[in-house]
Point group: C2
Chain length 274, copies 2
């Protein structure tokens, strides 16, 4: 069915937003809308200008026979800053402080709208880092991992704390939690990673970084590679960290007696490139 | 900045897709695009026709002073059937069979594109059931729960198997797993649910339904209500189930010796209304 330009623009926008980081050929759209490639090209020009001016993302043009366009989700710096301010405010409520220097974030981590924005922020930084897989440790990092992976169009693998019958054969390692010094176990299904994969590790909270380091070590068992590490909140107190080169959206500082805390911006904008 | 119709349509589409189940007033769009409400009304008419003909969802018009439009994600029956066929094929690969009558689904459950489609299918059924919260049990149901909740614009609460320091004060119950007959524990943060909430329970896999029943019982402790139950895969063998009125996308049947299995369509279309 031949569609008018207005219809094509609406459908194209929907299609591109739902297929990030995928090359869509001009022929695909040309067939889908029974329209000439020249019209499709013009449409894409309009979509591109709007995505960029409205801060939805970028539209890359790939030339050649297998060419087409690729939508790269990307959050504008202003939007990222505004969102981090909102998140800081939410997390600064005084009744969030829990014993042991933890912060109650369960409600925030349960809001898909926040989670999707956090995912978009992380995906913006790693959009041109050739990520193959996003990895996280159960439980609270899972929504963040999926939100980022969804924008990067890559699968997620979830590290478990113990062996599960539903995972088939597994590879496990022991690691020492950086803050509690306890020995813990990490398990990953044997068939979950192919050698050489470039892995983005994501978690919700990082104290000394023991879990992050454990995940990085687990990757070695699969001959896979750390392509990046990102956390929502890191704590300021426990330093130096056991890992380097991690991105953090927010930083939590605690008073000596763990009675008061401050939430600041993390190192996000050190990694952010326009 | 005054925008042209083509730009408005692109931005509107993006905005609506990212704000499902939210009333957006005409004034909001009128201010956003510095355009007359009459033009915005026409734009929305075009968007509505296209969303409906392309199977992206519905656009409801809310009349009156606080009126506007609401985007309701909805999957067309043809698309839902095609997706279920694809999923069945993927899950029918013979090397997925695990000891104990389980199916290896970890890879499928790690693909955001599948997860988002499953979420859209579940959200389509419950789109007019006044859902307040989606609930799931850690670990594997979490991505599905977030995908559905994201489309329904409601928060997710995650039931844990043990008490965590990061959750604050908690409510826990014991329950008997329907298939293994083991006594297990479920924990939920005390501040996670308000009385009277209508809860959609989502999980990845259901054998006898003990976990589902446990979650329903846990809701009673919060004076909350089961508004629906949905699983990706139910097993055919263990019947009758401990719960009624659950929706399933797929059904798994196993031979006596658990050497072969068949994946069929679940009861999804009994719940689906056009």
């Amino acid at each position: 069915m031949k569609l008018k330009r207005s219809s094509r623009l609406i459908d194209m926008t929907g299609y591109l937003l739902q297929h990030p980081h995928q090359i869509v050929s001009l022929s695909y759209f040309s067939d889908r809308y029974a329209s000439a490639k020249s019209s499709i090209s013009e449409d894409l020009g309009i979509v591109k200008d709007n995505f960029e001016s409205q801060g939805i993302g970028r539209l890359e043009t790939i030339a050649g026979a297998s060419g087409g366009v690729k939508y790269i989700p990307f959050m504008k710096r202003d939007d990222a800053e505004a969102f981090l301010r909102l998140l800081s405010e939410q997390l600064s409520q005084s009744d969030r402080l829990l014993p042991g220097g933890y912060l109650y974030m369960t409600d925030i981590l349960g809001q898909p709208s926040y989670i999707n924005e956090i995912g978009r922020m992380i995906a913006s930084v790693y959009s041109n880092h050739s990520i193959d897989v996003v990895m996280t440790m159960e439980t609270k990092g899972i929504p963040l991992a999926f939100a980022a992976a969804s924008q990067l169009n890559v699968p997620v693998i979830i590290v478990r704390r113990s062996i599960k019958v539903t995972e088939g054969s597994t590879v496990s390692i022991n690691y020492v939690s950086g803050s509690s010094k306890r020995i813990q176990t990490m398990v990953l299904p044997r068939r979950s990673l192919t050698p050489g994969s470039r892995v983005l590790i994501i978690d919700d909270f990082m104290k000394a970084g023991g879990t992050m380091k454990g995940m990085a070590n687990l990757l070695k068992e699969f001959d896979a590679e750390v392509a990046g590490m990102a956390v929502l909140v890191e704590t300021k107190s426990e330093e130096p960290k056991l890992v380097d080169n991690y991105l953090s959206l927010l930083k939590l500082s605690m008073t000596e007696q763990e009675e008061q805390f401050i939430i600041e911006q993390g190192n996000y904008f050190q990694y952010y490139e326009c």
